[in-house]
Every structure is written in structure tokens, then in C-alpha cells.
Amino acid sequence: MLQEVAKAAVDMAPIAKLGAALAASIAVIGAAMGISKIGSSALESMARQPEAAGNIQTSMILAAAFVEGVSLFAVVVCLLVAVA
């Protein structure tokens, strides 16, 4: 019985790919939450002070690029697991 369980546990490659796919989706959720918070606060402050809209827009794009970069680390790791 234990030997059967041990033999069945050896081939984990498909489960690894499943784990990689799930991890990539969770990373996307994190990125989406972060970028939406940035976007909403930027829109709110642009509405409060329309003269600063140019500045705020630049900072918003910059901060969104950072958050996206972090989520892409996770995507790179998942790619490594899925194809290697």
C-alpha cells in the first residue's frame, strides 16, 4: 500500500505545471488589485486638482509599471517551471 503511494508520488511533473499555472493567475490578481488602487487614487486626485493632472498622470504610469514588473517576476518563475 505504501509502496503504491510512493510510486504514484514520483511523477509530479503534471502537478508542477498545474501549480505553475495557478501561481501565475494568483500573481495576476495581485497586480490587478495594485494597479486598480493606483488608478483610482490618481483619478480621484485629478478630479480634486485638475491643474496637476499632467504630473499625476506621469506618476500613475510610473507606479503602475513598477507594480506590473513585480507581478512579471512571478510570471517568469512560472514560465521556468512550466517549460523546464
Binding site: L62, L72, F73
Partner: protein, 368 residues
């Protein structure tokens, strides 16, 4: 064209209908028995990675593309051959120039050195020689750097001829971007005294990344190689930023790393925690720059390739379904391509801005 735009509603509904009705039926089953299966994962990975040949397309079974030269060094002697030899046979046997024995080159399909040239020793072990072959990315870099040099030579020639007059033509296209990098990126981040030291590098790296990102999106022959999506290229750019920051940093900068002001002494003296944290941060910053650029550009290419591959995946089930799917896939792929143009600019901007910020932190004046 205008006619097509007027009847777009009918085109979309017709393709949707074709997908739904014929998506699961086999209309052309005689053809699909003899064709080989379309493996989407392999096709996408093949377009992202570097390779020893430049494969343009496959027309009716004929492989159109050209084979690039391989240049390897083994024990000090140089061996050059075309990568065509790896298509006719699996291995390439030649004479070792130092001891006149047989030397076997091969490209293994799995293992550590998958896809790269190795020397297979007599006992089966693989050794990777010093490999400076002209691969697809190297050739694409040559092409794009020639293009960049020509463009900028024309711009500087225009400045010399026109002097203080208003810019015209190509010069006016580039002047906007160069002034943007100088005023909104460099002068905002670095103090007045030291901006001019760093400005040439910042302008170079901005245009290098921007133009290479854009050229990677064009699928026609001399462009379309995934240059900035290659971790080696982005790592070298990040290394440049790292060396320039640390070699040109002034004493203030090193004092801030090893003896951070405003931090209590017990974090520095018996166990130098603060210097360790600052040094690790000093190394992760360029690493993060490299990974951010690489992952953004590669992810964009994979998304576009995925949309186009989905046409072929549906077409394997039925040809009419593939036709219907192609309308949707093309619309989505064009949409993602437009986003990729924006991402190309944003990634160049973020890389340059962060490099400017690091230079600014490294050459900060002492506040009185």
C-alpha cells in the same frame, strides 16, 4: 476598405456563427489526416528564444530562412561552420586541430545545454565550448544598431547644418524625445553639476531600448527578432547602469551605504546589519531592472503569439472554425499590438528614469 468598415457588424456576426456552427465538425478531414499536429507551446517558445538560424516561414513544406554561421573555440583553435550541418545530420564531425582526432559537435534536444552547441566527448559527456556564433539575436542587433547609428548620424548632421534655426524633418521627430529625456528625466533626477556626465548614456539607453522594442514587434524579415526579450541583452544594460553608478559615485554615496546617517549604532557595529542591507539593495536594483524589461517584452510577445496560435488550434478541429476564429484573433492581436507599442515606450522610460534616479543618488551634493 470603407465598405468593410460599414459592414463590420455583419463580418463579426458571420465569423461568430461560423465558429459556433462549424467549430466542432470536420469539414476537411482528408487533409487533417496527413498534416502533423500543431503544437502551440513549441511554436511560441521557438519564436521567443534565440536560435542558430533565421527561419522566416514555411511555404508548402519548404523551409524558407537562412542558416547563420557558428563560430566556436575549442582549446584555443577556432572552428567556423554553417548551422546547416545540424539539419542534415544530428552531429557534425570534424577534425580537432590540436591533436588531429575526431571532434564531434551536436545540438542536444534536452538537458542542461538544450538548443546550444556542445562538444560530445568520446565517453558521451557534453562540454560547452566558447561560443561566439552569429545567432539570430546577434544579427538582429547588428541590423538595428546600424539603423540607430544611421538615424542619429542624420540627426546630428541636421543640427550642424541648421545651427540655431528651427528643426525640420527627421530632426524634429527626434528632438522632442531627446529634449524629453534631458529635461523631464535627467535634469529632474540628477543635480545640475553632474547631469552632463550621465546624459549621453541616458539618451543612448532610452533610444536603444525603445527602438529595439518597436522593431521586435514588426514581423517582416529583418526585424521581428526578440532582442530586448533576451535576458542576456537586458542583463548587460543593467550591468552598465550598475558600473556607472558605482564607479562614478562620490564619497557621500559610499558613506550612505556603509555608514548610513540617522541609523542607531547597534545596527552597524557588532553585526553590520545596515551595510549588508544596503549592499544587497545595491545589487538587487540592476537585477530588477533587467528582469522587468525582459519579462514585460517577452510576455507581450507571448500574448500576441498565443492569439495567432489559437487560430491554428481551432483550425485543426475544423477549417471553417479556423476562418471564423481568425477574425477575432486578428482583432485581439492588433489590440494587444497597440498596447505593446505603449509598453515599448513605457519600459524604455522606466529603465531610463530609474537609471537617472540611481545616478542622482550616487552624485548627491552634501546638504548644508
Amino acid at each position: 476598405m470603407i465598405f468593410l468598415m460599414k459592414i463590420w457588424k455583419y463580418i463579426i456576426s458571420l465569423s461568430f456563427l461560423m465558429c459556433l456552427l462549424f467549430g466542432t465538425q470536420d469539414i476537411a478531414f482528408a487533409e487533417s489526416e496527413t498534416k502533423e499536429e500543431f503544437k502551440a507551446g513549441e511554436v511560441i517558445i521557438e519564436h521567443i528564444l534565440d536560435s542558430y538560424e533565421w527561419h522566416i516561414c514555411t511555404w508548402k513544406g519548404h523551409h524558407i530562412g537562412f542558416y547563420l554561421p557558428c563560430i566556436v573555440f575549442n582549446e584555443g583553435k577556432c572552428y567556423t561552420f554553417s548551422s546547416k550541418v545540424f539539419h542534415e545530420n544530428e552531429v557534425y564531425k570534424t577534425v580537432n586541430k590540436t591533436n588531429s582526432e575526431e571532434l564531434v559537435f551536436a545540438i542536444p534536444h534536452e538537458g542542461n545545454y538544450k538548443g546550444k552547441i556542445v562538444i560530445v566527448n568520446a565517453d558521451g559527456t557534453q562540454k560547452r565550448p566558447f561560443d561566439i556564433s552569429i545567432t539570430k539575436n546577434v544579427l538582429a542587433l547588428f541590423i538595428s544598431c546600424t539603423l540607430i547609428i544611421i538615424l542619429f548620424y542624420l540627426v546630428t548632421k541636421a543640427y550642424k547644418e541648421r545651427g540655431e534655426r528651427e528643426p525640420k524633418g527627421l530632426q524634429s521627430l527626434f528632438e522632442w524625445l531627446i529634449v524629453y529625456v534631458r529635461d523631464d528625466i535627467a535634469r529632474k533626477a540628477i543635480n545640475e553639476k553632474s547631469v552632463d556626465k550621465y546624459l549621453p548614456y541616458l539618451v543612448t539607453v532610452f533610444f536603444f531600448i525603445f527602438i529595439n522594442n518597436l522593431l521586435g514587434l514588426i514581423p517582416i524579415f529583418p526585424f521581428g527578432a526578440n532582442i530586448t526579450g533576451n535576458i542576456a541583452v537586458t542583463a548587460v544594460l543593467a550591468l552598465f547602469t550598475f558600473f556607472i553608478t558605482n564607479l562614478l559615485g562620490n564619497k557621500e554615496y559610499y558613506k550612505d551605504i556603509f555608514n548610513t546617517p540617522g541609523v542607531p549604532w547597534f545596527l552597524k557595529f557588532p553585526l553590520p546589519l545596515m551595510p549588508i542591507i544596503e549592499t544587497v539593495g545595491c545589487f538587487t536594483k540592476p537585477f530588477v531592472l533587467a528582469i522587468r524589461l525582459f519579462a514585460n517584452i517577452t510576455a507581450g510577445h507571448i500574448v500576441v503569439l498565443g492569439f495567432i496560435s489559437s487560430i491554428f488550434i481551432v483550425a485543426q478541429i475544423s477549417v471553417a472554425g479556423g476562418v471564423g476564429m481568425s477574425v477575432f484573433s486578428l482583432i485581439l492581436a492588433i489590440f494587444v499590438d497597440v498596447i505593446e507599442i505603449l509598453v515599448a515606450y513605457i519600459q524604455a522610460y522606466v529603465f531610463t528614469l530609474l537609471s537617472a534616479l540611481y545616478f542622482g543618488m550616487a552624485s548627491k551634493e552634501h546638504h548644508h
